[in-house]
Symmetry: C2
Subunit: 330 residues, 2 copies
């Protein structure tokens, strides 16, 4: 027998012992959007508010997992907290479209069954991630849009909120600024592509991913980005990985980014290298800005972004907490 | 020098000679939906009408290619003919949703640039494939939906038709039958998942794919299937292949079918085996009914379906015409 074979058997035996001694890993990661934000334009108070809310979301999601909850429950719990905060472009903090409306998209996917749910262009659903989950669990369909999706929500007992619920003064001023720039043909000085998302691994070894967004400020014509598109903004498969994306959605759709990362992982690439290749090579070469959070079936986490910042947080399989905003944070 | 190297050089030289002697290949394939239709339920007249229209569409698309047109032009030309026919569930022949409306989806993708366009839930656009193309060529976006998409159409000078244009008696009776079955909880006796699509390769070596549909009879809640989803129902990349799908859309979304076939081809699998694996192994195992048309960069065509029938036609790189409906046609 060759020495390498003996070493291989030893390694396998040790891995077996480790798995017998330790509980199966759990892990979770969230993002709150990627963008060109720089330290110069961020106040210390605002930065702290982001970090505090990201930590609240990641701890809540992790709490679901430690209590034996599913990755789907952890993902929705974490995303709901980000949706309910006015800081992020999803739910309460959604940006305004050109018509002065808040138009919300979300999707979720179960890595165990490949079941998925998505909603687009809803205006009165407080937590679009909950509706995406309900589409997955209580309809035969994957994607419902517009008034039809809200009708489904009503039939499912969701309480619809007045569209005014989503009105925040900051976002309203962003719309006015965007319209003014449109008139003067100035480019957006601070392109912040915020969206929220989460990926998680539960004790049963199941992965899940979810994404929720208000889309683009001043968007027109019922534009839908990658967030509600299974394969582009969200994908999960226990055999490979779970991914949630944020960025210039059109590029993420064309390159089917979330699915592409999972295909690479299924082919034997590690999740960090697969996610990095799609974000910093394929998307960067195409001109697509943004990032992803990705997690494989062992709870390994990657959070690459090709923008100066990405709001993100994680609690890894060793229970180590990380919260970051800028690219140079480890 | 090894014999294998010399053989390799000889083969490369011969391939070069062949390409110098012959013009670059062109090819096109179309589908008009897959389903459980059986010869017993089809009248000879109706069968002939389908074959005639499929041949008209494939010849028109091929004519674009022989005249030096692009694969995008060929795909849209062929799909427009199928949309304008009341025989197929797209454009004029679209099925009715539960509210008695015709609700149309379409998408298109350019394999050279990975540019893509898609529209969903439009009610007044005569040829949704044209609008999908316009979204691709005249907006920064990939996907526009609902009234917003129609507003974009108006701004682009599209003449919107009265929704009554899409009313055909056959489809209306299908809706009434579906509603009656719903009441009696009978299952649909003839599940025909029709949608139309095309893939083409032009003289410049560029692939394109497009898909157009009226969705499901009696569909509710703004349900969107795979047809307007880039990656699921439509994908094209010069480096791999072009695909248009038809079937139970939810399964095609979960398995990102069109993109998955292209990823396999990019990995070295031939297009016939890649398309067959997704349709007859992955989808069939998951319970997804339907089929695809797929074409690689050399003009090789695959049209696998796991249903008893799929309306389909092709003119291959040797200018051989094929028109088929049932699975046992070669």
């Amino acid at each position: 027998m060759k020495a390498s074979s003996i070493l291989g058997m030893l390694a396998a035996a040790m891995a077996g012992m480790a798995s017998a001694a330790e509980p199966a890993p759990i892990a979770i990661a969230v993002h709150g959007g990627a963008g060109t934000i720089s330290r110069e334009l961020m106040t210390p108070q605002r930065e702290q508010a982001f970090r505090t809310k990201l930590e609240e979301a990641i701890r809540a999601g992790h709490g679901v997992l430690t209590a034996g909850g599913t990755s789907l429950e952890a993902v929705t719990r974490a995303i709901r907290i980000l949706e309910d905060s006015p800081l992020f472009n999803a739910g309460k903090g959604a940006v305004f479209n050109a018509a002065g409306q808040n138009e919300l998209d979300a999707s979720i996917m179960d890595g165990a069954s490949l079941d998925a749910g998505a909603v687009a262009a809803v205006h009165r659903v407080r937590n679009p991630i909950d509706l995406a989950l309900r589409v997955m669990t209580h309809s035969k369909h994957v994607m419902l849009i517009g008034e039809g999706a809200e009708q489904f929500a009503r039939e499912q007992g969701f309480e619809l909120v007045d569209p005014g619920y989503f009105h925040t003064e900051d976002r309203w001023q962003e719309l006015q600024a965007a319209k003014a720039r449109e008139l003067t043909r100035h480019r957006d000085p601070e392109k912040w592509l915020s969206t929220v998302g989460a990926v998680a691994l539960d004790r049963a070894g199941n992965l899940a991913a979810g994404t929720s967004t208000g889309g683009l400020t001043n968007k027109r014509w019922g534009r839908v980005g990658d967030s509600p598109i299974i394969g582009a903004g969200t994908y999960a498969n226990n055999d490979s990985c779970a991914v949630s994306a944020t960025g210039t959605g059109e590029f993420f759709i064309r390159h089917v980014v979330a699915h592409s990362i999972c295909v690479r992982v299924a082919g034997g690439e590690d999740v960090a290298s697969a996610a990095n290749a799609m974000v910093n090579e394929v998307l960067a070469a195409a001109g697509g800005d943004g990032g992803v959070i990705a997690m494989d079936g062992k709870g390994n986490i990657a959070m690459p972004h090709n923008t100066p910042g990405m709001h993100r947080a994680s609690i890894d399989r060793n229970e180590v907490l990380f919260v970051g905003i800028y690219r140079d944070e480890p």
